[in-house]
């Protein structure tokens, strides 16, 4: 539990931080450090430079930017979990943040950090996927937007380049007839700890019919992922219990289930359907 030697900088401006990343190909960004530090202490990951963005002002806010809600790079899980704007517009992400880690982790770790870390069993990636979030990545050479659906590439791998910082996640403002929810089984049972399996769902109903939907899974495969077949199956239905059960049966289409200490393939496959159903049910209830 003693990391290899590394250099550390704590810039006080975003430009400085981006320049440090541009200058050092083996640098790593740290916000709350809840994921990076354990990996370094286990010597599973040894960056030459840690760029601590924790002292950069202006990144710790949640704001209403007109057509979307912006969650800054230094917004803690606890903040995401309790913020009224997030609750009103992206309830699935708020719930996922509330069930992330424990109280200490939620007070230190950041939503953007958890998204960038892209753990296969993390909660908030599922919420971001279901809510249709957009990631804003910035480097010394500019800024780009990445749809959540394109952001989670593989195990612990996001679409961010080495010289980029996830400076903001944008959540679409909720309109009429929309609702979202997240549910999971934690490794210690209930909602405690990483997800054995979990799902987030977002729906928009119009005229008594499900007009649009997104369902995302976590803990099941090699990365948090959308389950488009479930969404397709629920769209056009009345969102009844039977329709939800039928749609959830499609949860595994396009997903390769991986077993781990917490579940066999068969069990995780089963849970994917259970939580797709539960998340969809709650999202429809929230409309």
């Amino acid at each position: 539990m003693f990391p290899r030697q590394f250099d550390y900088v704590a810039p006080t401006s975003l430009d400085e931080a981006l320049q440090a990343l541009a200058d050092n190909p083996n640098a790593k960004v740290m916000s709350g450090g809840m994921s990076l530090i354990p990996l370094m202490k286990l010597r599973l990951f040894s960056p030459q430079l840690v760029v601590d963005i924790g002292r950069i002002p202006g990144l710790d806010g949640i704001s209403d930017d007109g057509d979307h809600i912006a969650v800054g790079a230094l917004v803690r899980h606890a903040q995401t979990a309790s913020d009224p704007l997030v609750a009103a517009n992206a309830a699935a992400l708020a719930q996922a943040a509330a069930w992330t880690g424990d109280a200490q982790v939620r007070n230190r770790g950041t939503t953007c950090g958890a998204l960038a870390h892209a753990d296969i069993a993390a909660d908030q990636p599922a919420g971001a996927l279901a809510c249709g979030a957009t990631m804003v990545a910035r480097s010394a050479s500019g800024s780009r937007e990445i749809a959540a659906a394109d952001f989670f590439v593989d195990t612990l791998t996001s679409a961010l380049n080495d010289d980029e910082i996830l400076v903001e996640v944008r959540l679409p403002k909720a309109g009429a007839g929309e609702g979202s929810a997240y549910d999971k089984l934690g490794r210690r049972g209930g909602h405690s700890d990483y997800a054995v399996a979990g799902a987030a769902a977002w729906v928009r109903k119009a005229n008594g019919t499900v007009a649009e939907a997104r369902v995302a899974l976590t803990g099941v495969g090699s990365k948090p992922t959308l389950a488009p077949a479930v969404a397709a199956a629920i769209v056009g239905t009345d969102g009844s219990a039977d329709a939800v059960v039928a749609a959830a049966e499609h949860a595994l289409e396009g997903v390769t289930v991986l077993e781990d200490l917490y579940g066999s393939e068969e069990y995780k496959a089963h849970l994917a359907k259970v939580y797709a159903r539960r998340a969809l049910t709650s999202a429809l209830d929230a409309v």
């Binding site: 539990m1 003693f2 990391p3 290899r4 030697q5 354990p38 202490k41 286990l42 010597r43 424990d102 089984l185 490794r187 210690r188 049972g189 209930g190 405690s192 700890d193 990483y194 054995v196 200490l261 917490y262 579940g263 066999s264 069990y267 089963h270 849970l271 259970v274």
Partner: protein, 792 residues
């Protein structure tokens, strides 16, 4: 026993302000000038021969002072063990490794980071060999765990205890004959009691400082047994015990895992002597899984024979217990503690046999409960299956088969052990009445009618603790290997200081049990000196009387009793002095409120400070009275004590996911008289957390090659407060007749009572689906799988 407000009352823990404010010092907080840091090169293989160790690259690194291998320390010999059966652990691997994480070399460097870098740079060549990981495979002796073993089965513990093998066979034959009766059912189940990692929140840590001028060692260690560590260092380095001082400062939890002398403690002392500088090592959480002992690890089959109306005709337990690769302090003795309580609270013919089996895994030893949770788990699970089989309420089956209260004191258990006091039926009835068991069952029925899978678990337990020295020493358990002059005695020094305050010094090794508070209550009660004027010291072998440490729920009953007696003797002497000063009769002196009073003469009193002042001026004392006001008592209890109790749990299972939620958890414990109810409740809380942790979450998982897959806290989920229910506690009080205070012990009761209570509840919830048993831990995946299997 005298009772005042302070004994038996809730007194806030003297220890807590320092712990809460961060002013207590753990080993890692103690810094010595010029100290060096150790790190270990550990084996990635469970079984391999070592063909070479090349430390040249490590030694060439800046700041590296030394790299040691077995060649440097072979002369010191292997680690000590109370029962030296099986392979003893060499201080560093000697030509071969026998479990993943075994220390192969030790690096010492200027700082911990350099030490770790250097450890990574030591090149060890291994020739891997087949490892034996599972108990049944090992017991077959298909492959030896260690070339030095004649068999992987190191020894067996069979009972009834004290019988010759042919007599034990007769008991077994009698139970077998019972199976043939046409009025009985036979219920049998193989069950696993999984291996656990103790996970003390403070990892182990040791700092050693050798003084060449005095040829002596100062050692600071996070240990439960400072005197045994001092004895071990003295023995292994060939020094008198006066040349070794061990200090156990604040110790952040032990649970048995710090009840060993470890190779790192000896090696750090060796390095300090060799390098002429203090050397420290602090265990990392990651290496703790393999370098510190684990607990449990049994696979056994319980069989119960009983009539259809609930009379138990016989009970058998046969199986294997995992010892790991090396035998350390108690290793092979742990199942023996299970034998003590193998027949639980019941009067029934009992046959019991557990084989101690080596495997290529980390060593096992005492983990909170140590053999007793395992034994009680099997018994209480099979009784539950029996009750279900014959359609009787589990409480009724237990009631019908208890050892009757009339047989106490000094009842003999069916397995041949003398039990002190007990009233099991009263205790269970108190549980059922206090918590309205009938109401719980009604609530369960209502929940089931709503389609909810709600279950109720009941389990009773006995514990044995406060171990007696003579009996155990006769069995071959002894600290003599550690150079200690005593076996399992307890001791206490009570000293009244010239200002009328009191200092109490004890030989225990607490790791959070609150001894400073409890012992002050004992002495305050005896002397009438205010609680806040009494200071209790422990953990420093230079000042504390000989004691074997804190384990086995023994401290209050053994060392506490010694202190109680020491205080009584100080009181007698003080009464003499007070009578002299007050010109009263010694028999009329009573102590209260910091002074001696003459009974019946409210105006006639002398404060403790005045008594003590005279005591330290011998010329002022009555003729024939020696100066000083201090007593040291060494105490040997005549027997162990036997706490007991019954627990109830209500759970709800989500059949869709297998998730278990504990809705209620209620206890009726009996630990004899209680000194501080808050501390006793705290001990039960902690024990329950670890028992429930075993039932639901915790498991040391090894793969086929002997790799520990759940070695980090990411994959070894210990329960947190948020994962546990709000406990409901209550007690019956059946004092022991073994010691003057009537106290039994409470450190392990929660752990011994909890696991089967939870499993019984989960199986009760799922029994309508046909689920009969699920092996712990009841993680959702297993519960769900059991439901699938039962549904076919």
């Amino acid at each position: 026993m005298s009772t005042t407000s302070v004994l038996g009352g809730i007194v806030r823990r003297r220890e807590d302000p320092a712990l809460i404010q961060g002013t207590g010092a753990y080993v890692d907080d103690i810094k010595l000038p010029g100290e060096l840091h150790a790190a270990f090169v550990r084996s990635p293989f469970a079984r391999a021969d070592i063909t070479s160790v090349d430390a040249s690259a490590a030694l060439a690194m800046d700041g590296v002072r030394a790299v040691y291998t077995i060649d440097d320390v072979r002369d010191l010999g292997p680690l000590l063990a109370q029962v030296p059966v099986g392979a003893l652990r060499p201080l560093l691997a000697d030509g071969a490794v026998h479990h993943v994480g075994e220390a192969v070399a030790m690096v010492v460097a200027d700082d911990r980071y350099v030490a770790q870098d250097a450890a990574d740079a030591v090149v060890v060549e291994y020739e891997p060999r087949e490892a034996v990981v599972t108990l049944k495979d090992s017991a077959s002796d298909r492959v030896k765990v260690n070339d030095s073993l004649e068999s992987n089965v190191l020894m067996s513990w069979a009972g009834p205890f004290g019988m010759e093998p042919d007599q034990i066979a007769e008991v077994k034959a009698g139970i077998d004959a019972g199976k043939a009766r046409d009025d009985v059912v036979v219920v049998s189940q193989e069950m696993t009691n999984q291996r656990l990692i103790p996970v003390a929140i403070e990892p182990r840590a040791v700092l050693a400082d050798y003084n060449a001028g005095y040829n002596s060692f100062n050692v600071w260690s996070s240990t439960q047994m400072p005197h045994a560590l001092a004895g071990a260092v003295a023995t292994m380095f060939g020094l008198p015990t006066t040349s070794v001082r061990v200090v156990a400062p604040e110790v952040g939890g032990g649970f048995g895992c710090k009840l060993n002398v470890y190779n790192d403690e000896i090696l750090v002392a060796f390095a300090s002597r060799h390098l002429g500088a203090p050397v420290r090592w602090t265990e990392s959480r990651r290496e703790a899984g393999n370098s510190t002992i684990q607990g449990r690890g049994w696979v056994a089959t319980a069989t119960l024979v009983g009539t259809r109306d609930g009379e138990i005709v016989g009970y058998e337990l046969e199986g294997l217990a995992d010892m790991g690769a090396y035998s350390q302090n108690f290793t092979v003795a742990i199942p023996f503690l299970g034998l003590f309580v193998g027949s639980g609270q019941y009067k029934m013919p009992t046959y019991w046999k557990i084989d101690c089996v080596a495997t290529n895994t980390a060593t096992t030893d005492a983990y909170r409960g140590a053999g007793r949770p395992e034994a009680i788990y099997y018994l209480e699970r099979i009784i539950d299956m029996y009750a279900r089989e014959i359609g009787l309420d589990p409480a009724e089956v237990r009631m019908k088969n208890f050892v009757p209260a009339a047989e106490f004191p000094a009842a003999t258990s069916p397995l041949g052990f003398a039990m002190d006091t007990g009233d099991y039926a009263t205790n269970l009835q108190a549980l059922l009445d206090h918590y309205d068991y009938a109401g719980w069952r009604a609530e369960q029925e209502a929940a089931r009618a709503e389609g909810r899978n709600v279950g109720i678990g009941l389990a009773s337990y006995v514990e044995v603790c406060g171990f007696a020295p003579a009996g155990l020493a006769d069995l071959g358990f002894s600290w003599s290997a550690y150079g200690l002059p005593t076996a399992f005695n307890g001791s206490g020094v009570v000293r009244v200081n010239p200002d009328g305050t009191a200092t109490v010094v004890i030989g225990t090794g607490p790791s959070g049990q609150g001894h400073q508070t409890t012992w002050a209550q004992i002495v305050s009660d005896q002397l009438g000196i205010p609680f806040e004027n009494i200071r209790v010291r422990h953990g420093d072998t230079a000042e504390s009387p000989m004691g074997v440490g804190t384990f086995g729920s023994r401290s209050a009953a053994v060392d506490g009793s010694a202190t109680y007696e020491a205080a009584a003797r100080v009181r007698e002497k003080a009464a003499k002095i007070a009578a002299h000063l007050l010109e009263a009769s010694e028999e009329d002196i009573v102590f209260a409120d910091g002074a001696a009073h003459v009974a019946g003469s409210p105006d006639s009193s002398v404060p403790w400070a005045d008594i003590a002042s005279v005591a330290y001026q011998p010329h002022k004392l009555p003729e024939g009275t020696e100066g000083g006001l201090e007593t040291h008592v060494v105490y040997s209890p005549a027997n162990a004590t036997w706490p007991f109790g019954s627990h109830l749990a209500m759970v709800e299972v989500d059949a869709d996911t297998g998730n278990v939620e504990i809705l209620r958890y209620a206890c009726m414990d009996d630990c004899g008289n209680v000194i501080n109810p808050m501390i006793v409740d705290g001990q039960i809380h902690g024990g329950l957390a670890q028992g429930i942790g075993q039932a639901l979450f915790e498991e040391a998982i090894y793969d086929e090659a002997g790799n520990l897959l759940s070695g980090s806290l990411v994959d070894y989920p210990i329960p947190t407060a948020g994962d546990l229910p709000a406990y409901e506690l209550a007690r019956t009080t059946t004092p022991t007749d073994i010691n003057a205070m009537g106290v039994k012990g409470i450190g392990e009761a929660g752990t011994i009572g909890a696991a089967q209570t939870v499993v019984n509840a989960v199986v009760d919830a799922l029994s309508p689906m046909g689920v009969r048993h699920i092996d712990m831990p009841l993680r959702p995946r297993k519960v769900w799988q059991a439901i699938q299997d039962a549904r076919g």
